[in-house]
Structures are given as structure tokens and as C-alpha cells.
């Protein structure tokens, strides 16, 4: 989320909030498909809502529900969800100096450490814009993610096949939009290409949810390549 050089704070603030609402609306639409898929997989509406309220990290939620839908053990689903959620710990380490929260504030802020809030927080160059990006996006995504989940879970019958609306492709498109700005230079392109190939090749070999974790090894390998700090 670029902020124009020298733009006044009200202008910047408006832009950040507009982007936050846009991201919330997109994830809300995605949440409708999550709610529907989750109840279709055999979870109750309450279990589906608990996931969105308490787990609140989309990839992990889809991983858990996907494992259960594929006939997997719910504990295996939980393991996949937690492994996928490990990226949030890395995000937290990057956000800690920016947010600088302690005590109950940290306990509360932790819950909102996800892909979207991190992208909005570490995108801008100045800290004030970054912090606003984190909280505005957290508020917007948390609200609309849960509203969307409720709508999808309750209306699961009407939306039994979310693919008719192309909602499954909407998720990938949202990831493309988040990835695009990071692809500056040759190295990110190489990492992105390698990670996508590794993940897709791993799909038939490992349980659902795990291919993405396997691809995370590409990032670790890239960090060990010579010629870099």
C-alpha cells in the first residue's frame, strides 16, 4: 500500500482505511466460502464460528477443514493448521518493533497477526502509517471475516458449491494481489517460482495443507544461498 511521498496525514489515513476496508471485504467474501465449505465438511455452525473467531488465520482454517473433509483425523487437521500458522510467528517477529506492545495489549494484538495485517503494516516506510495499517486492517478483516463465515455457514445450502461463483479462484487472486508488490527484482521471482513448483509437486505426496509448508523450505534455502548477508 504505497503512500505518496509528502502526502498529508489525513490523506494517508484515508487511503490506509480505504485499503483496509477493501481487504476486509475481499476476505469477507472468501469467508463466505469458508463457512460453507466448513459446514459441508461436517463441522457444526458453532465449530465453524469458533474457528473464525479464535483461530482467525484463513489458511490454517482451510487446512483443518480440508483435512476433515478429506476424511483425515481432526488432530492431523489441527497439526496442519498449526504448522501453517507458524508463519504468523515470523510475521510477529517483524511486527514486534513496529507495534511495541506489552501486557494485555500484546495479548490482544497477537490475535490479529495474520497475512493481511502484516502486509499492510510492513508495506509503508513510516511507522505511523504501518501501525494504522495493522489495526485498521485487523479490525476490518476480523469483523468481515466473521460476518462472512456466519453467512456462509448458515446459508451453506444455498451456497453448497462455492465454485459456481468462482470463490475458489477469488482466494488465489487475493494472494496474487498480496504477492505482486513483493516481486521486485530477480530473487523474489525465483523464490516465488520455486515455491509454487515445489508446493504443486508436493500436493499428491503429502496430506492437504502440508505442500505449503514444504514450499516454506524454499525460503529457508534461499536465505542460505551464498552472496547474501
Amino acid at each position: 500500500m504505497s503512500t505518496t511521498e509528502g502526502a498529508s496525514w489525513p490523506t494517508t489515513r484515508r487511503a490506509v482505511i480505504r485499503n483496509a476496508v477493501g481487504i476486509g471485504a475481499a476476505t469477507g467474501a472468501y469467508a463466505v466460502s469458508f463457512g460453507a465449505i466448513s459446514t459441508a465438511a461436517g463441522l457444526s455452525v458453532v465449530q465453524t464460528m469458533v474457528l473464525s473467531l479464535l483461530m482467525f488465520t484463513g489458511g490454517s482454517q482451510f487446512a483443518l477443514v480440508g483435512v476433515i473433509a478429506g476424511g483425515g483425523n481432526p488432530l492431523a487437521g489441527a497439526a496442519a493448521a498449526v504448522m501453517l500458522g507458524s508463519r504468523n510467528a515470523l510475521y510477529g517477529m517483524r511486527l514486534a518493533p513496529l507495534l511495541d506492545v506489552r501486557g494485555w495489549r500484546r495479548v490482544a494484538a497477537s490475535h490479529w497477526v495474520i497475512d493481511e495485517t502484516t502486509a499492510m503494516a510492513i508495506g509503508p516506510d513510516d511507522e505511523r502509517t504501518g501501525r494504522l495499517g495493522f489495526y485498521a486492517t485487523g479490525m476490518s478483516v476480523f469483523t468481515l471475516w466473521n460476518l462472512g463465515t456466519a453467512a456462509g455457514a448458515v446459508g451453506a445450502e444455498a451456497l453448497q458449491d462455492p465454485s459456481v461463483l468462482g470463490l475458489d479462484a477469488a482466494a488465489a487472486a487475493a494472494f496474487v494481489a498480496l504477492l505482486g508488490p513483493r516481486l521486485r527484482g530477480r530473487e523474489p521471482w525465483a523464490v516465488a517460482g520455486a515455491a509454487a513448483i515445489v508446493a504443486v509437486v508436493a500436493v499428491p505426496l503429502v496430506p492437504p495443507g502440508v505442500p505449503v509448508l514444504v514450499a516454506a523450505l524454499v525460503a529457508v534455502a534461499a536465505a542460505y544461498l551464498p552472496g547474501r548477508p
Partner: protein, 101 residues
Amino acid sequence: MIWVGVLLGCTGCYLLKLAGLSLPVTWLVRPRLQRIAAVMPVALLSALIGVQTFAAGQRVGFDARVVGLAVAGFAVWRKWPFLVVVGLAAGSTALVRWSLR
């Protein structure tokens, strides 16, 4: 049993988030860890795109989602707004599905 998985998953995911914000700052100054954290989103987002587009359960294949991905890629390259990117991708995928029925 589903409840056990749900609650364990929720607890684990939250503790990881909390750990990220709580780890001692000395962890942050490790350059290697910083590098990994910097490249990680690129790898994970790209892997998610690959899986969400080409996987159906544990099978790999091509379907209408590929069109949505191409449209999204074009829209992002043109720097169109987030909602436009997502809406066009979903719409084009649904359109291709509908026309192939």
C-alpha cells in the same frame, strides 16, 4: 473429536502469534533469521497460489481457476485495486465454468 481438533488448532495458532510478538529481541538481530522472515511471505503466498489454483484435494490438474489466475495476474500487473483484482478473477472463473457446462 472434531471439537478436540478445533480447540487444539485454535490454541496452537494463537500461541504462535503470541510467541512472534514476544520472542526476545536478540532473535531479531540474527541476520539469517531476518532473511528467512523476509523471503518467507513470497514463498508461502506463491505456494498458496499454486495449491489454490492447481490442486483439487490431493490431485493436481487444470480447470477454470487457471483463467482466474491469469486475469488476476494481469490486473495486479496493471496495478488495479485489490477488490477489482479479486472480483475479476472470481467473475472470469465463474464465467468459464458456466460456458463450459
